[in-house]
């Protein structure tokens, strides 16, 4: 039975989604319970999978769909491949999904009204898509799953107000361009190698690395993935889409979508193409991309600094964090790549924590500007503690995970002597410190009377903002888990990095 864990991780939310559909929109609590149970079992399978990888000698699990064995030296069916990195990212996805499910409980009915069951269905299918992306070993299957995640997120974002619908439309256009470029790149690889399995493609490509069409294929795939992960000049769709989305959706997609796409980028760079190919042409494009990452970090930080809207600010910070990871991956250095992988996990944890805290604050006060934080430490001490932990991690103070991931990235930069990248990371930490200490100071020292009862801004549909009388326990619990995970990922960083290092193919 244990060998089927890999596929069961994915099947649980899939069936959960179907059952919630069948339950219908009247039985909201039953929908929530189904979703919660499915996510919980899925998380158990994901954790079990980590154990199985640790127990196995090869450090990876393979699962052949349809039982099709290798034939004539090629995989003829679709294969799943889970190594330590994939297992950790999958566990991250389903755990974030699970905790977010707890978070959604009380607010969904208010935000989604009649469409609660559709919301749960789409959300679980989004998790199916993300898990599938991480585990698949087939280049085309990856495309289908990317489209699953994209379609669900278009729909989920567009369920919000009218601005959300508009930003969702832009996301549709950008997302389709990205996915189509990816598909085109896979077509170029197929025309040159005649197979779609990632391992087989990589094996067959080795003796034709010099060919220009492979270079174009690589460039197209990278371009597609960068659009999807909102790498700096291509980030236009992200801030609006995530900040106007319903808060249940934004707090869930912001930690996961870009991180999973960074994982796909690492997968393409290190397993589909090999490090030897990607980094050999370093002088031509490797250097250039590290510089683009530096620009992304600096620009993301500045844009965040200029924001007065809390969610917008967080989304620009995501843009900067994507720059961290892309830069680390392109440094062509073991420490940089490890740092990039570890940063996927830690960034997911801290973004999740911050988004949950921000959503709670916005729901409680009905105000999405930074001034809403004034004097909040007295009114909402627990929420603000969670927010502070996330903020400290963003700034990079020990023992939070943000410190360690930044540490690995910086040591990667030092190893190859890329001082400007190091400087950009330090600069971004500084900006984060300014941003967050400004908020925390206001929350700790600010007096509520100073803002007084000036009128709250209307929400984008022109109606009065929704407020809660008190924060529900389910939200506090999920924030507690999220901020705990920020600390846990930080404290166990050596174990995690040790596992991740074993997964990296030698450069």
């Amino acid at each position: 039975m244990t060998e089927h864990y890999t596929v069961l991780i994915l099947l649980m939310p899939l069936f959960g989604a179907l059952v919630t559909t069948l339950l219908g929109r009247e039985r909201q609590n039953a929908c929530w319970l189904t979703a919660l149970i499915c996510m919980a079992t899925s998380s158990l399978f994901a954790i079990g999978n980590i154990g199985r990888i640790l127990a196995s000698g090869s450090g990876e699990l393979r699962y052949r769909m349809g039982g099709w064995q290798e034939s004539r030296g090629y995989e003829v069916g679709i294969e799943l491949r889970v190594d330590m990195l994939a297992a950790l990212v999958v566990a991250m996805v389903v755990l974030v999904g699970f905790v977010n499910m707890i978070f959604s409980k009380t607010r969904v009915a208010g935000e989604m009204k009649d469409k609660v069951s559709f919301f749960y269905t789409l959300k679980q299918l989004l998790i199916v898509g993300l898990c599938g992306i991480v585990m698949t070993n087939d280049a085309f299957n990856l495309y289908v799953l990317i489209e699953i995640t994209s379609l669900t997120s278009y729909a989920l974002i567009a369920m919000g107000n009218r601005r959300a619908a508009l930003s969702s439309f832009n996301y549709v256009i950008m997302g389709t361009i990205g996915a189509s470029f990816y598909l085109l790149g896979v077509g170029y690889l197929y025309i040159k190698t005649g197979t779609l399995n990632i391992d087989d493609i990589s094996l067959r490509m080795q003796h034709q690395y010099g060919e220009p069409s492979l270079m174009i294929a690589f460039a197209l795939i990278m371009l597609g993935i960068w659009i999807k992960m909102a790498f700096f000049p291509l980030h236009g769709w992200l801030p609006n889409a995530y900040s106007y989305a319903p808060s249940m959706v934004g707090s869930f997609m912001a930690p996961l979508m870009t991180k999973v796409m960074v994982y796909v980028m690492l997968r393409v760079m290190l397993w589909l193409f090999e490090g030897e190919y990607v980094y050999s042409g370093r002088l031509v494009w490797g250097e250039l991309i590290v510089w683009m990452a530096i620009i992304a970090i600096v620009a993301g930080s500045f844009l965040a600094l200029a924001c007065t809207d809390i969610k917008k600010m967080l989304t620009y910070l995501i843009v900067a964090e994507v720059g961290y990871m892309v830069g680390g991956a392109w440094l062509a250095d073991g420490a940089g790549i490890t740092g990039s992988m570890y940063h996927i996990l830690s960034d997911a944890a801290m973004t999740f924590c911050l988004f949950l805290a921000a959503s709670i604050v916005i729901l409680r006060t009905g105000d999405h500007r930074l001034t809403a934080f004034t004097g909040l430490f007295r009114r909402m001490p627990l929420t603000m503690t969670g927010f502070t932990i996330g903020a400290l991690s963003m700034v990079g103070l020990p023992p939070t995970c943000g410190f360690f991931s930044k540490w690995y990235l910086i040591s990667g930069g030092i190893d190859v002597g890329h001082w400007s990248y190091v400087a950009a990371l330090l600069f971004s930490s500084l900006v984060n410190a300014v941003i967050f200490f400004r908020i925390i100071e206001r929350a700790y020292l600010g007096k509520l009377e100073e803002v007084g009862n000036e009128s709250l801004p209307l929400d984008a549909d022109g109606g009065p903002p929704m407020t809660l009388d008190r924060v529900p326990y389910s939200m506090l619990l999920s924030l507690l888990i999220a901020s705990g995970s920020v600390l846990l990922v930080g404290i166990y960083n050596e174990t995690l990095v040790g596992w991740l290092k074993a997964a990296i193919p030698s450069l």
Binding site: S150, A158, L166, I173, I177, L184, A460
Partner: protein
């Protein structure tokens, strides 16, 4: 006109013509997606963009002498009833490569799903803004506008 007789077309144009057209169609679609102002026009561009990629994939699978990738009755009969080995009965150059076809069935489905969802979102936008022109929508969202 004598170059026509010497197989100029067969030699230089035909082998690559499909690929040229796919690039041209793709760029038409991409240009429309980036620059068109009307949301529906953008979506038509998107559909053209996707079909261009499908055209590219299907062109990969073609072989000069190939027919459709379905076994004929005689071949089916020879293999299943008479038990002849399939590798002798089937001449693989006579069949188009089935794999790109399968992939493109999936891609077409994904394309229509995206189109349907995008149309729904544009109707939702029309409901709130009463227009489908991007510049007019942005005008309404400006701080000075009636937001």
């Amino acid at each position: 006109m004598e170059f026509l007789a010497t197989g100029f077309f067969e030699e230089y144009i035909v082998p690559k013509f499909n690929y040229w057209i796919y690039v041209i169609l793709m760029m038409i679609g991409l240009f429309a997606m980036i620059t068109k102002n009307n949301l529906i026009k953008k979506l038509i561009g998107m559909a053209i963009f996707q079909t261009a990629i499908i055209l590219f994939y299907v062109s990969i699978g073609v072989k000069a002498e190939s027919g459709i990738p379905i076994l004929g009755h005689e071949q089916h009969h020879a293999i299943v009833e008479e038990g002849q080995p399939s590798s002798e009965v089937i001449k693989k150059d006579k069949f188009a490569n089935p794999l790109p076809h399968v992939l493109m069935l999936t891609a077409i489905v994904v394309g229509v799903s995206t189109l349907g969802l995008a149309l729904a979102i544009s109707q939702r936008i029309y409901r709130s803004f009463d227009t489908l022109e991007e510049d007019e929508i942005l005008d309404q969202l400006r701080p000075g506008g009636h937001d």
